[in-house]
Symmetry: C2
Subunit: 647 residues, 2 copies
């Protein structure tokens, strides 16, 4: 009865369901009994010491409804010890962030007598997920009833159940009232204020909150660009060559905002307690396989897979495959440009209505082919990365991100680079950029928010109709059993990957080419504003609640954005060098022009690296706080030593 609202499940009081386990509908009884007892067992017997309940059937149960849904919760003490176990950082009474320990729990800021509301629901769910994930087999050689689901001492039970599809899914429950409050302050009221990042973090965890923080930061960072862009666009409409100042501004801007974001991100992560938190030792991901052996770090038995073999797979199969796809994509692009030229010549020779229609065909065909290739490539990339057999989820994610990133970058920008530097046609570049930005924006909003919303709405309505349509507001006060089933049917949120990818490409459009189309920044700002709303909506109403992800930064994406900003320096310098204004300074010697451009570019790149080096990644006041904690722990150690020496 410690954590917020208490819901009564099947008559028993005092149990708040936090996480749902959906087991296969045809699971063997003995497996269920064994799993539940392992989850409930006290910790000294190697159990997880959590509370589990079976979810009763819904109103008017249907044939196809899965009866094997279980609710997991935990006592208040268990959650606190889990928080210490995880190394969760909370605010201390002196305002600094410290690793939570049960022994001095009363020195933490929001810890009231009974610990109520000290841990957020997202934190509780994360703790339960961690405890379930680290629930390990003892002497069992396989899951009872499933001889093919092998176990060995130390193997994570949940991971094995997941990889054998005995456990279908595990997800945290929404908290209806909190969600309503959050969504109201986030996107339902029209406002000019910032996003409620702390509430987002409180409800969805740090990873999500950092994404929305970055989205917001990025939007604000674009505002100066947009403000400069509008008059440029309005008054120099046809004067494509007056973009030197804009290009210079561009490359300074994209270096500075990324550096400042690092500082902002560090501030947020410090405030949320993830900056200096030590990550627990990472478990192998569910799909990882190999010969059984002993992990050199933990000494536990687990599958081992030689790193050399993985490297061979990466460098001899994945890398050539990616290069081949890039080549193919380049080839398709060249065919498109050929077709376009051919169609244009036909239309010019003998313009009729039909040749006018024909003009659109190459673009449409190209768009369709690109989209299809993108889809196929994405599946191939996932397959290959799975086949590379990475031990850690994080390493799997990094390799997948890298593959998808490179290909998407190529697909989006190759044609623009071709137009800019091979064809050197700035009018066409401007048109293409505008078309790309506007269509991708419309498509994205549609695919990302409205389509899933519409599907979800249909599903909700069905469910509500099933519960006899007693109320008009769909998801208010549904019985818990229905609510859980409704959430179980929602699509799974696949992480921030696609959201970041979209921002990455938008950043590319702005930083690489906005000097030839100054309105790009304006369009991206508009896109980002709607993106905040559609992403917020989709998080709250379209997808299952995701588990909190205690991220300290935006990870590999910081690197990707920085790489893009380096490419932006090179591109902008080249565009400057090609501008008629600059060419006018070197009327007789193209060689001189190029040498100067290259020299300036090298200077700017050097300056960029020096700037990156000079601007500290963590703001001074946070460095001091971190140093203070470090110093105090050293002093504590010293005192211990003194006592030892004297005693």
């Amino acid at each position: 009865d410690a954590l917020g609202v208490v819901v009564t499940v099947s008559g028993e009081p005092g149990f708040e369901p936090l996480v749902v386990l959906e087991l296969a509908s045809d699971i063997k009884e003995e497996a269920v009994v064994w799993l539940l007892s392992r989850i409930r067992d006290p910790q000294q017997n190697g159990g997880a010491e959590l509370l589990v309940e079976h979810l009763g059937p819904g109103v008017r149960p249907q044939e196809k409804e899965n009866p094997n849904l279980f609710l997991v919760g935990a006592s208040w003490q268990r959650l606190l010890s889990g928080a210490e176990d995880l190394g969760l950082f909370k605010e201390y009474s002196d305002g600094s962030m410290r690793g939570f320990t049960c022994s001095n729990k009363h020195n933490f800021k929001d810890f009231t007598g009974d610990g109520d509301s000290f841990l957020s629901m997202a934190e509780c769910q994360h703790i339960i997920k961690h405890e379930l994930d680290t629930l390990r087999a003892r002497e069992e050689t396989h899951v009872p009833g499933y001889p093919q689901a092998k176990l060995y001492p130390g193997k994570s039970i949940i991971r094995r159940l997941q990889s054998k599809r005995i456990l279908i899914q595990m997800f945290p429950l929404h908290h209806k009232e909190e969600l309503k409050r959050l969504s109201f302050s986030w996107y339902q009221k029209v406002r000019l204020s910032l996003q409620p990042l702390d509430s987002i973090r409180h409800y969805y965890g740090e990873g999500q909150a950092l994404y929305f923080g970055f989205l917001e930061y990025f939007t604000f960072a674009l505002v100066p660009m947009a403000l400069i862009g509008v008059p440029y666009y309005l008054f120099d409409w046809e004067d494509y060559d007056k973009y030197v100042i804009f290009a210079v501004f561009n490359l300074v801007w994209c270096t500075v905002i990324l550096e400042l974001w690092k500082r902002r991100s560090a501030s947020l992560a410090y405030q949320w307690g993830t900056l200096s938190r030590k990550q627990a030792f990472e478990e192998p991901r569910p799909g990882f396989h190999g010969v059984l052996g002993f992990n050199p770090v933990t000494g536990r038995e687990e599958p081992l897979y030689s790193n050399a073999k993985r490297q061979l797979r990466i460098y001899l199969v994945s890398l050539p495959f990616v290069l081949l796809c890039l080549y193919l994509s380049l080839y398709v692009m060249m065919v498109y440009f050929l077709l376009e030229g051919w169609v244009l010549s036909i239309h010019d020779e003998n313009p009729t209505f039909w040749t006018g229609v024909l003009l659109f065909i190459p673009s449409v065909a190209y768009a369709v082919v690109i989209e299809a290739m993108n889809l196929i490539y994405r599946y191939a990339a996932e397959f290959l990365t799975e086949w590379e057999n990475h031990r850690l989820e994080s390493s799997y994610q990094n390799h997948l991100v890298l593959k998808v990133l490179v290909y998407n970058f190529f697909n989006c920008f190759a044609s623009l680079f071709y137009i800019a530097f091979v064809m050197q046609d700035m009018v066409l570049l401007r048109q293409s950029l505008a078309t790309l930005l506007i269509t991708s924006q419309i498509l994205n909003q549609f695919m990302e928010a409205f389509l899933p919303y519409w599907l979800q709405r249909r599903r909700n309505k069905k469910m509500v109709r099933k519960v006899q349509g007693r109320r008009v507001l769909e998801d208010k006060a549904l019985p818990l059993a229905e609510q859980v089933r409704l959430e179980a049917d929602m699509s799974t949120y696949l992480g921030t990957f696609d959201d970041y990818l979209e921002l990455f490409l938008l950043f590319g459009y702005v930083s690489l080419f906005s000097c030839v189309y100054p309105l790009a920044a304006v369009l991206v700002v508009l896109n980002n504003i709607t993106e905040v709303y559609s992403d917020a909506f989709k998080m709250c109403h379209v997808f299952k609640r995701p588990f909190a992800d205690p991220a300290a930064n935006i990870g590999v994406w910081q690197l990707a954005f920085e790489a893009m900003s380096v490419i932006a320096v090179v591109t902008n310098c080249a565009l400057i060098g090609m501008s008629p204004q600059v060419r006018a300074y070197f009327p007789h010697s193209e060689t001189q022009l190029i040498l100067w451009t290259v020299a300036v570019e090298h200077g700017l790149l050097a300056l960029k690296f020096i700037l990156t080096f000079l601007i500290p990644d963590v703001p001074k006041h946070i460095q001091i706080k971190l140093a203070r904690i470090e110093f105090e722990s050293l002093e504590a150690l010293k005192k211990k030593v003194c006592l030892f020496v004297l005693g």
Copy 2:
């Protein structure tokens, strides 16, 4: 009686002198009494709990001899608790490196019953230095007898005494027998084996050992270059344009060796226990001054100096000054080239003996001016960095290194760049390179080793003559009092700065221009081999023993070498682009040639960064060991939590 050889000082047994304190010869008696009592006081009273002895007068004391020399030592228990306090890492019984703690001292590998020889003499001296440095004032407002030497609670006493020149110097004593063993295995026997890095580390500490390790590594890394260079030099003597392959090899080589050095350095640092050691909180350096306030990290009273003011001094005074000096150096270079051309034209017009002599004058004058400017700049850089008022010694060092580095780089390479890219005269470039390398090598060896050796030898002889010349071998079995005085008179070793700077410049000659003068690598290898001997000799016999410096890597120099390797890529690409071979591929268009060169250069730079990113900085097996220790500490925490929950 715990640590190695016990020397009897003034009749008292059981005291091994480790560190010498030389106080001002006219110091007031009350200050001495106070200082000694503070050093001897037990720790719970705020003292350092060390042993101190007054050094008696030497044989035949002279008028000018300083009577105020004190020997500091410590009991065995005190040294062990100091080791824990410092966070010293030692080898554990399972072969891993762990932070030493007194409570489980018996689980450490070399810990025998009484702890004898567990800590090396260098470690003991480092511990004593740390304990003396952190000996803090209590209620004293000034040093007794010196009202101008202000103190406040928490101020390091030794730092104040140093800054007021009451303490003249503090240095660790040599250990004659160990030194003899070390110098024999290091440089006195002719051998083909590697340097005894572990013994060097044992005697001089990690910072020194890493320098010699780097010197050795660098020499070996140059061997392939030297081997390829010799046939190039022999068979393509006059064929300066056949250097494309050499240049390509060059830029791959300089990227790879630096990456591999990081791994080697991590291995060494792990093995020596400095890799994962936490640095204690750094004290302000002796010369630091400011308004008294409270340090936000420690909460102790200490001088504070606003960071903004320091930044202003750096960016508004130091930076312009450095730029001005660079400009001046460039100006002098241009004057030199003008003079050279003028003298050459005179000689060509009317060649006599005197015009032949005249030919040498510009070079000699330039060399003298450069040397003088270098000297003046060095003083100015030290003055400015001191004036910037850095709080930490490390930050002071970094700013000084940066200033000196940039200027030296400019001085050494500006003329070569000018010859290579403005004059485009490869024959002259080759001559200049050869002259620079050979003369600098000879000068360096002379200035670094033979001159100080000769001076030291004279001093030793005087001392020996004073002790009645009883023995022929100079420094054998001198009485302790004489030995200490002899060492106190030796020059102070000023750190590895100049040694690294020399290596850095040699690395520059090889990586930037060795494709036009392939013999450069051979000359540098020869130089390095003699450098090992002369540096070793100078460490052992010319300088005072330095305090051990527990370094985990070569610090700012790694960055400097990496910056140089980036410049090397650019330079080599430009040299390749200028070669007649490559020019032959683009007979009609210089623009095409330049564009291709720039494209290749960008590709290589990208590849370099990717390589830097892909090659892990710490070898796998050490990563595993570090992860295991991390994992075990997390598990230990977990067990504690379980006990707490159950208890």
